[in-house]
Amino acid sequence: MRFTPTELTDDELALQSDVRDFLAAELPPGSYMPGLGMSAASDRAFSKKMADRGWVGMSLPKEWGGHDRTAVDRFVVVEEMLRWGAPVAYHWVADRQTGNIINKFGSDEQKTRFLPKICAGELGFSIGMSEPDSGSDLASVTTRAERDQGGWIVNGTKIWTSNAHQNDWFICLLRTQPLESGGNKREGLSQFLIDIHDTPGLELGPIPFLNGEHHFNEVSFTDVFVPDENVVGVPGMGWNQNTTEMAYERGGPDRWLSVFSTVEQLLREAEGTAMGERTIELLGELAARWWGIRNLSLSVARLIDSGHAPSIESSLVKEMATRFELETIEKLVELVDTELSLESESLFEQLLSQCVLTGPGNTIRGGTIEILRSVASKGLQGLPV
């Protein structure tokens, strides 16, 4: 394991500057409610504007509507969007991982059908992985797809499916070979592309978040027919296809910028006043840690561009970064030491209230920190992950 230090090139800095100019023009501070990193709002028009700039599906091939850009280019765009709290939710999953999976494992027909729309910011994806009895032990999923004429019949239930009500399709991990007793449960899984809103037998319903907001969904399948052309890659190889993409999902800026817009707003509201010693020191600690973690995260992106699959490194970064986010929220609450409300007069206090309510999810979503530790520690000990 080695994180090689890297810096942005002149071209990458020019891209950063373009993104900053775009955001300053589109979303001047005070004109919108900043989101908390990737939990930001879903806004199809905004996703379209980003796509018009070539900032969605950046690393996908030009042949399929992409831009042949690097993982670092995408890093530069994404970090600016997230720290701004821009409404990126609609294209988020498609841009971060589904496009990559289809590009890597999908058929040409699937690439033609999905990638240009993803790159145009016109297709939002959700992820169908967890089930009522399968969370961290993801390979134990039981929602099954059985062979039928020209396709598969799906029965079962997926839960915690974020933003399925706002997105168009979802990529779903299903069992296509029954698990024999004593068999390897990582075998016999397959990835399917399923239309969320236009599939007979598919039922979609909300699982209200602890504060009543609608992010999570339950998706149930009753004899749902999925045609063969919507299976991604090789049937039975879904686990491997899924895990190879984890490096993209795990070490990025979405894991350490959720609280940034809140801290920026703290500073904005303090401008022109004398800041207390504790506020100054906390700002210093946070800025320093963001600097440090960003260097590690950028190094992971550079490793991806040089052909590596830094899964241990990205797990280490995500585990550390999401814990840092939670510690930051705790320290901010201690710092302001006041009754918090989502209806506060202060935008900073509104954002901090939202951080408090949603923060625990940061160390759970996309793989709990306990699972990440298990992956990372196997890597440190030279054991198979």
Partner: protein, 349 residues
């Protein structure tokens, strides 16, 4: 800029051969390790990054920091930082002669009373001087001058850091010194940042070694019929230590790269702050994973953990640097906060 692999290999081999557990232990008991120092000087590493025309070995600041990282990795009980990028730098920048023997430096504590008189003599005391007792010259920067003072003129009160390394008090009474006006950019602030950078490099190496020791120990140590590394509660310590090793090394290398280019106040301050906190977390995790064995003199963990506890407070503890970074970013205002994090010193207004 990258460091020539030959430097890494040579320093790693040299320290690995000399800094055995027994040798490091003996240095602590004897207050120095003359034979390790001699071998170190024979390679030329003692003056790395100091210009050849000043009597140094040439090379870049990043080369010197790589040697320091490996000194930290092997707990080398020698004043590598003091003689090179700190004391040696002060003398070489001021055009003062580098001595045959060791040059150390007064890091500057609140209790120091040393004054340089107009006639070029020095009077007063300086504390926490690394390896003061074994040095030939003491380099100081104060009151707009750089002075090179013969240590033989000092009354030396021997003291130790938490790691058992010499941190002596030197008292002078009208001692003769070589004194010159400090050149632009050479002052106590610059020394404090360079000192912090030296500690960050040493600490990055020590945390990495400690993390590796902990992985091997927990794989060998068996309890309940299996290696303790098989337990998730122990794995968490392995992961946390590895993260802090990565964070500290990255901070050291990024700050070193920035310092080689020019103004690097933000990067050095952020690096020392991150590394101090990383040292706190990693020593806790590694000690916990080692159990009672890590608390003994016979097992080497303490060579690294005690050095980290010592270096963590040298050239600025967590609060000092948090305040520095906090004031620097607060001055940027809300719109400048993220550009400061991505752009560092170059982006500060």
């Amino acid at each position: 800029m990258t460091v020539d692999a030959l430097i890494t290999e040579t320093a790693d081999r040299l320290f690995g051969r000399l800094c055995t557990h027994d040798a490091v232990q003996a240095a602590e008991e004897g207050g120095g390790a003359p034979e390790i120092w001699e071998a170190f000087t024979e390679t030329g590493f003692a003056w790395i990054s100091l210009p050849e025309e000043a009597g140094g070995s040439g090379g870049t600041l990043e080369d010197a920091l790589e040697v320091l990282r490996l000194a930290g990795y092997h707990a080398a009980p020698i004043p590598a930082a003091e003689n090179g990028i700190l004391g040696g730098w002060l003398l070489a920048s001021a055009g003062l002669e580098l001595p045959e023997g060791i040059v150390t430096v007064a890091p500057g504590t609140a209790r120091d009373t040393l004054k340089v008189a107009d006639d070029g003599t020095v009077t007063g005391s300086v504390e926490m001087v690394p390896w003061g007792r074994g040095a030939e010259r003491l380099a100081v920067v104060c009151g707009g001058v750089v002075a090179s003072i013969p240590v033989e003129a000092a009354v030396v009160e021997t003291k130790m850091s938490l790691a058992g390394e010499p941190r002596d008090t030197l008292t002078f009474d009208g001692a003769p010194a070589d004194v010159v006006d400090a050149p632009v950019g050479v002052d106590s602030r610059a020394l404090r940042f360079r000192g912090a950078l030296s500690r960050v490099a040493l600490m990055g190496g020590a945390i990495e070694k400690m993390s590796q020791l902990t992985v091997s120990y927990t794989n060998e140590r068996e309890q309940f019929g299996r290696p303790v590394a098989r337990f998730q509660a122990v794995q968490q310590h392995l992961v946390w230590a590895a993260q802090d090793a990565a964070l500290a090394r990255m901070a050291a290398e990024a700050a070193g790269a920035a310092a080689s280019r020019g103004e690097a106040g933000f990067e050095i301050a952020a690096a020392k702050l991150n590394t101090n906190q990383a040292a706190t977390r990693a020593t806790k995790a590694c000690h916990q994973a080692h159990g009672a064995m890590g608390m003994t003199q016979e097992y080497p963990l303490h060579h690294y953990s005690r050095r980290l506890w010592s270096w963590r407070t040298e050239y600025g503890g967590t609060t000092e640097w948090a305040k520095w970074v906090g004031e620097a970013v607060a001055a940027q205002g809300a719109d400048g906060l993220y550009p400061a994090i991505t752009g560092g010193s170059a982006a500060l207004i």
